[in-house]
């Protein structure tokens, strides 16, 4: 029966504001597997898609950052649940894109889902670990609490298409930020599937926006955008990193510099990817008499 059935081929699109638009530019590009065989035509996002994504992320910020930390943890855990249901699909895409054996691809997907769960657990613990009551020399209660930075533009890792993506996206969300992500250019398919996962979990529209395309093309527009509060340059081309950081300085963004080369994502991430996108608010309150 399989031979005479018409193939149902998928259109890979962007994920912006909870919907799946094509690129505003109408552009697409060919995605190949690790051996160079054709896999799919993905949307090639333009600067205007990035602009729309920032508008969506900004609009989603008050609700997401205003949700209780506990609720954010529940929502993120739900994402991991839905990812688990797509396990086979993720494995196929990671194996094809990264050229891994099925066993290694499976390990990468398992690690990605576990990583998401790990960050989901952090949402309501950050305040205790990073904040607290400060001893001050006066009759005041003095508290420090971490608050999300705002809209974070993330240039996702180019090599690790799922574990790497999750490792940079989940920490941004856990702190209460909203994200505009430019995915791996050569290996965007797991990101597209992650968009489908996010759309069918409880993450509000606009909290995550995934743009498949070229970080070198879109990166500067996001780095210079006045309404983006922070940039994670992990997936930026090494030779452009300095320039991107300079562009980001115009609007005093938080910048997370790229590592010299893509790290081993299976290592324990610690808090290093959450703290750059948190601001510390300190409140002084008179003790009274």
């Amino acid at each position: 029966m399989s031979s005479d059935r018409l193939a149902v081929r998928k259109t890979y699109k962007l994920y912006v504001n909870g919907a799946f638009p094509r690129s505003e530019s109408g552009r697409t590009y060919e995605v190949t597997d690790a051996k160079g065989h054709f896999l799919a035509n993905a949307a090639l996002a333009s600067r205007k898609d990035a602009r729309d994504a920032v508008v969506a992320a900004r609009a989603a910020f008050p609700k997401w950052s205003g949700a209780t930390a506990y609720n954010r943890g529940q929502v993120l855990y739900r994402v991991a649940e839905v990812m688990e249901g797509r396990h086979v699909q993720f494995c196929e895409e990671v194996a094809a894109g990264e050229g891994l054996s099925s066993g290694k691809a499976r390990a990468a997907v398992d690690a990605a889902i576990d990583r998401w769960v790990w960050y989901a657990g952090w949402t309501d613990k950050l305040a205790s670990v990073l904040g607290g009551a400060n001893p001050v020399a006066g009759p005041y209660f003095d508290f420090s609490v971490p608050e999300p930075t705002g809209v974070v533009a993330v240039l996702a890792p180019q090599r690790s298409s799922l574990l790497g993506l999750v490792s940079v996206l989940a920490p941004v969300l856990a702190g209460g930020n909203t994200a505009v992500v430019v995915t791996s250019k050569e290996r965007p398919l797991p990101a597209v599937t992650l968009g489908e996962v996010l759309a069918t979990s409880d993450v509000p529209a606009g909290v995550v926006n995934l743009l498949t395309g070229d970080a070198e093309e879109i990166g500067p527009w996001l780095a210079e955008h006045d309404d983006v509060d922070a940039v994670d340059l992990t997936g930026a081309p090494a030779r452009r990193a300095m320039e991107l950081e300079r562009l980001a300085a115009g609007s005093i963004k938080r910048v997370l510099r790229p590592p010299a080369e893509e790290p081993d994502w299976t290592a324990d991430p610690g808090l290093a990817r959450m703290t750059p996108f948190l601001e510390t608010k300190t409140v002084w309150h008179p003790m009274g008499v």
């Binding site: 602009r51 920032v54 900004r58 527009w221 210079e224 955008h225 006045d226 309404d227 983006v228 562009l247 115009g250």
Partner: protein, 331 residues
């Protein structure tokens, strides 16, 4: 004022009906004749109108043309606040924004007018003195238009006395939809009279007129009765200004000028929030009625949030990078 509110006071001295301009002098001789004239206007092809505006909406306006379009659109904005919670302070801050929309760039043009409720027209007039920016006031029991004619006329006179030089009136949609066209005509004519020197914009509230045929009829009715502008909507009803509605109204003012020699302006209001929407309207004007209407004297945008988007796009063109809502004022 009490004698004006007495319905018999006016009925006793009903003035003769204002005559429409030639060659339409006799169309208002009776209700039946007026109805026959309005219903004799060519029908509107709704599918065609939508297709035409959809095609024009795809025009790509870039670089210098876009810069010109943005500045033109800013100069056409009727900066509006029509909330129950409006205060003198809010009107003054709106007036300040009208004078200098973008404090970071003094080259930004001023807007055309500030549009407020009649009781705040005096505050706006004072704040805008000497700037050349018009003060528009909504009147005639805005937005519903549900009041007696005497009350509506008093509303208009009050707004004019407070310093408004443009009056945005609403038509009686109930009378229009019931087919009492002459009543609507007489009311517009009476309001025009009460306006004195003030410009009269006639709000058709197209969202309640249901069909594009009705929009064409209401446009002609308002122009015959002496309106200086025809305006789509109050902004309180959805759908408000849509491109097909604007197309029909532009065709009406074009045909009206061809027939009578009098030019009437058009003001879409409500629902125009982005620079892209505004530029689509400018393209529509240029392709429908030509550049004669591409001026704040003949075309206005009734808007509040549109101005901020225009300013953001203007900043983008000036600086080369995207701006954000932190860089414009919160109204």
């Amino acid at each position: 004022m009490t004698d004006l509110l007495d319905p018999h006071a006016l009925a006793a001295e009903t003035p003769p009906r204002r005559e429409p301009p030639a060659p339409f002098r006799d169309v208002t001789r009776s209700g039946a004749a007026f109805r026959a004239f309005l219903h004799g206007l060519p029908g509107v092809d709704q599918v065609g109108a939508e297709a035409r505006t959809a095609v024009l909406g795809t025009r790509s306006i870039k670089t210098t043309a876009k810069a010109w379009a943005i500045d033109t659109a800013i100069a056409m904005v009727d900066l509006t606040t029509l909330e129950g919670a409006d205060t003198p302070g809010k009107v003054r801050s709106l007036a300040a924004k009208a004078k200098q929309p973008d404090p970071t760039d003094p080259a930004t043009p001023q807007v055309a007018a500030v549009c407020v409720y009649g009781d705040l027209a005096g505050i706006a007039r004072e704040a805008l003195a000497g700037t050349g920016i018009h003060v528009a006031a909504v009147a005639t029991a805005f937005p519903s238009g549900r009041a007696s004619r005497a009350v509506k006329l008093a509303d208009v006179q009050d707004a004019v006395a407070n310093g408004a030089d443009e009056i945005d009136m609403v038509i009686d949609r109930g009378a229009f939809l019931a087919g009492r066209y002459l009543d609507v005509y007489d009311e517009i004519a009476a309001v025009k009279e009460a306006c004195g020197d003030a410009h009269l914009k006639v709000i058709l509230e197209t969202g309640e007129l249901v069909t594009l045929d009705n929009v064409r009829r209401a446009s002609w009715l308002a122009m015959l009765a002496g309106g200086d502008f025809i305006k789509t909507s109050t902004g309180k009803i959805s759908p408000a200004a849509t491109l097909p509605v604007c197309l029909v109204m532009l065709e009406a003012v074009r045909d009206f000028r061809a027939a009578t020699g009098r030019q009437v302006g058009v003001k879409p209001a409500g629902g125009i929030r982005t620079t892209k929407d505004a530029i689509k309207h400018l393209v529509l004007i240029n392709e429908t009625v030509g550049p004669d209407w591409l001026s704040p004297d003949w075309f206005r945008f009734g808007a509040s949030s549109l101005l901020n988007d225009l300013l953001l796009q203007r900043q983008k063109l000036r600086t080369g990078h995207y701006s954000g809502p932190d860089h414009v004022t919160v109204d």
